[in-house]
Symmetry: C3
Subunit: 267 residues, 3 copies
C-alpha cells in the first residue's frame, strides 16, 4: 500500500467493509448514538464500552480503540487510561480526540495522561491541535476559532513530537505523519451545524486504522475522504441540518470506494 | 386471552395505547433517545431512571421495568439490582436484555446477579441467548454471530430453567415460554444496520408486558410483531439506514392493530 | 427592550444568532444529542459539561447555564450545584428544568438544593410547576397530567416567591415574572410525541437569556416563540413523530425573526 496510489483510500474502505472490525469507542454522551450509526452505515462493528471494570479487558478483543474526552469524568478517564494501556500491550492502534482539552484544568491533566499512552492518531479541530502543540488558539468551548491552515505547522510539530498521525479537520482537512501531508476536500457547510460529526469521524478513523494498523496516515485519510464524499452527497438534497444528518448516514451506506480518490491530494 | 386467537397481538397493542403504561427503562447511553422515541411512537410513557438513589423507589411507580446492560458500570448495576428487587416486591414484570454478557468478566458477574431476580422476559440475539444457556457461541461484541435457528434449543432450555419467556431476535424472531413457541416474521435487513434497535425492542416488550403481566408470551410476541410490521413498512421507502430510522418511528405511530396477526405463527 | 414591542422576540433571536453564545447544558442522557442539535440549528454554541471536576470552572466561561435533572445521580447533582454557584458568582443567568421532581425523594431533595441557587428561569410542564409551587398535581413520571391553564396561579406564586421567570409549557405556553405574563402559541400535537423536546427548549432559553440577561421574561418568550413557530412549520410536512423531529431542526435553522411576534400575546 502506497500513498502515491489514489486507489489506496477506496481499497481501505473495501477492506474495512469486508472485515467489519470491532471498534471500541469511548466517546461522549452526545455522540454515542450518532457515532454508532456512522460506523454501522460505513460497515464497521461499534462497541461503546468504557467502564473501568471492563474497558481494558475489552480493548484486547477489539481491532481498534477510540477515545474522546467530550463529556469526561474521573471514572471515565480511569476507563480510558486502562483501555489505552491494554491497546498498547496487545499492539492495537488507538485514536485520540482531545475535545476542548484547553477549556479546564481537569481536561488539561486528562489529555497529558492520555498522551503518555502514545495514540496512533490524534484528530481535532484547528484550535484543539494548536493548543495541543503549545500554540495560542482562539478556541472556545467545543467549536474551533481558528482555520485549518493556521494549524498546519502545529500539526506537523505535534506529529513529530508524539509519533502520531495528526488530523486537523475543518472546511478542508489536513493530515500529516510529520513528514508527509495530505489534504482532504469535500463535505458541507452543514457539517459543523450537526453535533458530534467530528466525534463520529474519530470513531470511523478507528475502523479504518483497525484494518491497516501499519498505514495510519492512509487509513486516516481514507476515513476523512469517506466523510468528505458522503458529506458532499448528503448536502445536495438536505434542506437543513436535520435532514443533513440522516442523509449523511444514507450516503455513507451508499458510498462507492471509487469516490474516495478524488477527495485526497498531497499537501 | 389465548394464543390461539391471532387477534390477541393487536388487542394487546390497543390496550397498551389506551393505558399508556409508565415504563422504567434502564438502558444504555447509545439507546436512550431512540428507545424513548420508540415507546412514545408506539403509545407508551417511557421514563429513563437508573440511579441507585431512586431506581428502586421509581420501580414501585412504574407498570414495568426493563434492564439492558449495554453500557454497564458498577453504579448502574447497583441501580439495576435495586430496581429489579423492587419490581419483584410489588409484583411488576421486568425484562432483561443481556447485551454482550459473555464479553467480559464484569458482564458475566452482572448477568448472574440480575438473573437471580427472575426476569419475566429475556430478550437477546442468538449469540447472547446461546451463551446464557451455557452453549458455545460465535458472538463478538454486540452483534450476533449465530442464527436464530441455532439458538432455539438454548432458548427453550433457558426458559425452562429460569421460568422466563425467552425471545431470540434476528432475521425471523423466535419466542418461547419453555412449552409453547412462536415465530415472528417481518422486519428488514436494515434493522441490524441501525444501532439500538434491539435495545428499543426490549423497552417495547416492557410496555406490552405492563398491560398483560399474566401473558408475557403473548405480550412479547405482540412487541416483536410491532417491530416486524413497522420495520417492513419503513423499509419500503427507506433509502438507507438513516432514513430507515425515522421512517420506523413514523411507522410505529401509524401501525394498525390489525397488522400484527399476520406477523405471528406458532413455531 | 420592551415587552410592548412585538419585534422584541425576533430581535433577541437575531442577537443570539449574531453572538452565538456558549451555553453550558447539564441535561439528561436522553436529551443531550437532540438538545445540542437544537442549539446549533438555532444559532447557539452548546457545550455539555457536567462533571464535578470542571462544571464550576466551565460555568465561568459560558454565557449561560442550563440544568435539567432528567437522569440525575449524586455525582451529577454535585456538578450541577457547583455550576449554579459559579454562575451566580460571575453574574451569569441560569435556567432550571425540574423534570419529574416530585417522583422520588432523591429528586425532591435535589430540587430544593438547586432552588437555593436562585435560577433566573424555571421551565417545566404544568404538573412540575404546580408541584414546585406546593400544589397537588396529577403528574406521573415525566409527562404532565395537568393543563397549562390550571398551573397559571402556581406559576405566578412560584415566580413571586423565587424571583425567577417561570415558564409553563404545553399546548399553549404561559410565562410570567410574577407581575406580567405572556401566552405563546404555535407548536404541534406531535411535540409531546418526541422525547426531549422540553429539555431542548430549556437549553434554548439558556441561549436567549445569555444575550439578554437583564430581560429574562422577553428572552424566555423568544425561545418559546422559536419552538412554537418551528413546531408549526415542521408539522405541516411531517408524517409522524420521526419525520417531525428532523423537520423541526430544519425549521429552526430556517426560522425568520419576523415570524416570532405573531406567536406571543400578553396574557
Amino acid at each position: 500500500m502506497t500513498l502515491s496510489s489514489p486507489a489506496t483510500y477506496g481499497e481501505l474502505l473495501e477492506r474495512m467493509r469486508h472485515e467489519s472490525p470491532l471498534v471500541q469507542c469511548i466517546t461522549n454522551f452526545v455522540a454515542m448514538n450518532f457515532a454508532a450509526n456512522v460506523l454501522l452505515a460505513a460497515g464497521a462493528s461499534p462497541a461503546m464500552v468504557h467502564a473501568p471494570e471492563e474497558a481494558g479487558e475489552f480493548a484486547r478483543l477489539a481491532g481498534a480503540l477510540t477515545i474522546n474526552i467530550g463529556t469526561l469524568s474521573s471514572s471515565w478517564l480511569d476507563g480510558m487510561l486502562r483501555a489505552a494501556a491494554a491497546a498498547n500491550e496487545v499492539g492495537r492502534p488507538w485514536v485520540l480526540d482531545p475535545v476542548a482539552h484547553f477549556a479546564t484544568g481537569f481536561r488539561r491533566q486528562a489529555i497529558d495522561a492520555l498522551l503518555q499512552h502514545r495514540p496512533t492518531v490524534i484528530r481535532g479541530n484547528a484550535s484543539e491541535i494548536m493548543a495541543l502543540a503549545g500554540e495560542a488558539s482562539a478556541g472556545r468551548g467545543v467549536d474551533a476559532g481558528d482555520s485549518v491552515e493556521r494549524a498546519q505547522a502545529s500539526a506537523t510539530a505535534l506529529a513529530q513530537r508524539s509519533g502520531a498521525v495528526v488530523a486537523v479537520t475543518g472546511a478542508v482537512d489536513w493530515v500529516t505523519d510529520g513528514q508527509r501531508a495530505l489534504r482532504i476536500a469535500g463535505g458541507s457547510e452543514l457539517m459543523p451545524r450537526v453535533t458530534a460529526m467530528g466525534c463520529a469521524l474519530t470513531c470511523l478513523i478507528g475502523a479504518l486504522v483497525a484494518v491497516a494498523p501499519q498505514s495510519p496516515l492512509a487509513a486516516t485519510a481514507s476515513a476523512l475522504a469517506c466523510f468528505g464524499a458522503a458529506g458532499s452527497r448528503a448536502a445536495q438534497q438536505a434542506t437543513g441540518p436535520g435532514s443533513f444528518a440522516w442523509r449523511f448516514i444514507d450516503a455513507l451506506d451508499a458510498l462507492h470506494a471509487s469516490e474516495l480518490a478524488a477527495q485526497v491530494t498531497p499537501a
